[in-house]
Amino acid sequence: MDRFVFLTIDGLSRGAVYAAFALALVLIWRAARVVNFAQGAMAVAAAYVAYTVAAETGSYWLGFVVAIVAGLLLGALVDRAVMRFVDHTSPLNPVIVALGLVLLIQAVLGMLYGSEFRPAEAPFSRSALTVGGIAVLSPYDLFVFAAIGVVVVGLAWMFSRTPVGLRMRAAAFAPEVSRLLGVNVGGMLTLGWALASGVGALAAMLVIPTELGLHPHAMDLVFVSAFTAAVVGGLDSPPGAVVGGLVVGLLLSYVSGYAGSDLTPLAVLVLLLAVLLVRPGGLFAPVVARRV
């Protein structure tokens, strides 16, 4: 029972990170109809910048802020400098370009920082507090929940209650009409990319201390898990991404706790295939009529 509680909490904490990362994927998908396969590499790049700043100044929190700012800027840059010029008529093209960015970013990180794992310390203790003899939550888990909670609520508020959010939704939903009504559609797209990349950077900052450390490929498996989470929830649905993230986190935690941590990649693949083959639109998708 103790173990079950521990695995559940651990799974939820990991799932919260996957949820944030999946949310970043969903943000870009909704805005631009692109699955950003470079998300993981971009987030790692932001995390590297953050840990360099933290090492120079000795302040984790300064690094944390820098990571998110770097993420925002990188997202805007990728949209303005690369994605804007890609021919979107075939869905293959943006995917291939994003993969080119993956190669490029990982190579640049490898050249600058080397390809060995760098230790990344957490700002709070990761040993769990015990309540009534059962190990429950570590302070770090609380920090993760709080950070992700703030981001999710903030994004939900922004999209549903502010003029900017309304414009972003309009620009994604009907670009031509929005342009006629005076919405800066290109700017909204860039803002979407920046926001998504910022959320991705936050997720990377939260997940890297719980894994082996900083490495150019640190987010590869996280990306696959988050993509699975986004697919479980349906690529079009932000609440679905959050629920999907938690589901994937829990599943991976149970698999690694009861069956061995080596099997988690396989579990992700099986879950992804199962969801795509049984319910390709995700668990929260409305029924859509397919052509022919």
Binding site: W29, V34, V35, F37, V82, F85, V86, D87, S90, P91, L92, N93, V95, I96, V97, L99, G100, L101, V102, L103, L104, I105, Q106, A107, V108, G110, M111, G114, S115, H217, D220, L221, V224, F227, T228, V231, L235, G260, D262, L263, P265, L266, V268, L269, L272, L273, L276, L277, P280, R291, V292
Partner: protein, 370 residues
């Protein structure tokens, strides 16, 4: 239905007789491909005598990669399915060849027919894996397909570590390969033999692929790529076509992986990482999607670019640590930039540029003569 069928042939017979030349041309397609393959084989043999052993080995590696990139060209370029999992399929072929060769060596069996049998087994096992992935892939589109195949590429190398009792973990397996046959003489360079092996297998695979592309199946591949709905209305079974394309592509990827294993005489999961899958895709895109010649350019690039950056970093005087970092990552960075630039500026790739150049020259030629 049967009545109309019975009624139609007599009417069409004159037309059929008129189409005889078409039939003859189809026969000459095969002949032309055979002639191409024969010429390429002769050139390869000549080159294998002309260059030093290391270049022979590099050419053999190009041949092994060419198998995989040609298969990926058929899948992505001609059928419109994006696969990021071809590195994993190559790993399947490589490990199968390792198991077979080890099994033969353990039983003390020798003979020239063992290696072809192992390569055949590698193709069969990759076809099985490719059929499973392909059946799933046929139901998926665009980013979903990319995501699943990405997961395959990340997961399969991890499996080799998980089940290290079978796959021997990160260390991998060794692949015992027999020396060149004694009839070639006692001092026959091993690298030349490797080039002959890889070249023969690759030319055979390319010959089959080239004929496939020109056949009815190749046309249905392209029809499905261009417009699924139209293809379905024309009576093409879309899912079956997609699975077939995936299986064909998997078979060649498996052969490529098996050849790589035979050349390196070892297999390890590190050689078949996600980066390899991205490399293959990049090679195909840069070479020119949808053309077998593009696959050749891509394969050459895969071998030549790391070699080139190696010599460049040797020219610069750098500290060993920096040099090591640069050497491992510079090719990746160049590949990445090239991929992005090619996608934006020249979607036809190298082969597209070349054929545009050729067409422009041809267009000017008669003008100059008159």
């Amino acid at each position: 239905m049967s009545a109309t069928q019975a009624a139609v042939p007599p009417k069409q017979r004159p037309a059929g007789a008129g189409e005889r030349p078409v039939d003859r041309r189809r026969g000459s397609t095969l002949l032309r491909h055979l002639a191409f393959a024969l010429a390429a084989a002769l050139v390869l043999v000549a080159v294998s005598y002309a260059v030093e052993p290391f270049r022979n080995f590099q050419l053999a590696t190009v041949a092994a990669y060419l198998c995989a990139t040609a298969g990926l060209t058929v899948l992505t370029g001609l059928n419109g399915q994006l696969s990021l999992g071809h590195g994993a399929l190559m790993a399947t072929g490589a490990y199968t060849v390792a198991f077979c060769q080890n099994a033969f060596a353990d039983r003390g069996m020798t003979g020239g027919w063992l290696l072809p049998v192992s390569l055949g087994a590698a193709i069969v096992s990759t076809v099985a894996v490719g059929a499973v992935v392909g059946v799933a892939a046929a139901r998926l589109r665009g980013p979903y397909l990319a995501g699943v195949t990405l997961a395959v590429a990340v997961v399969v190398p991890a499996l080799a570590v998980t089940f290290d009792g079978v796959f021997n973990g990160e260390q991998g397996l060794s692949v015992p390969v027999e020396p060149p046959p004694a009839s070639l003489g006692p001092y026959f360079p091993y690298e030349r033999w490797q080039l002959w092996l890889a070249g023969a297998a690759t030319l055979l695979a390319l010959l089959l692929l080239a004929n496939l592309i020109r056949s009815r199946y190749g046309r249905t591949f392209r029809a499905v790529r261009d417009d699924e709905v139209a293809a379905r209305l024309a009576g093409i079974h879309v899912a079956r076509t997609q699975v077939l394309a995936f299986v064909v592509s998997a078979a060649t990827a498996g052969l490529g992986g098996a050849l790589l294993a035979v050349l390196a005489q070892s297999v390890s999961p590190g050689a078949f990482s996600l980066t390899l899958s991205l490399f293959l895709l990049m090679a195909v895109v840069i070479g020119g999607l949808g053309r077998l010649a593009g696959a050749l350019w891509g394969a050459v690039l895969l071998v030549a670019l790391p070699d080139l950056t190696h010599s460049v970093t040797e020219l610069l005087t750098l500290s060993p640590a920096v040099a090591q970092r640069l050497e491992g990552n510079l090719p990746l960075a160049i590949f990445g930039i090239t991929l992005v630039v090619v996608m934006i500026a020249a979607p036809g790739g190298v082969q597209g540029l070349l054929s545009r150049l050729g067409r422009a020259l041809l267009a000017r030629w008669p003008a100059r003569r008159s």
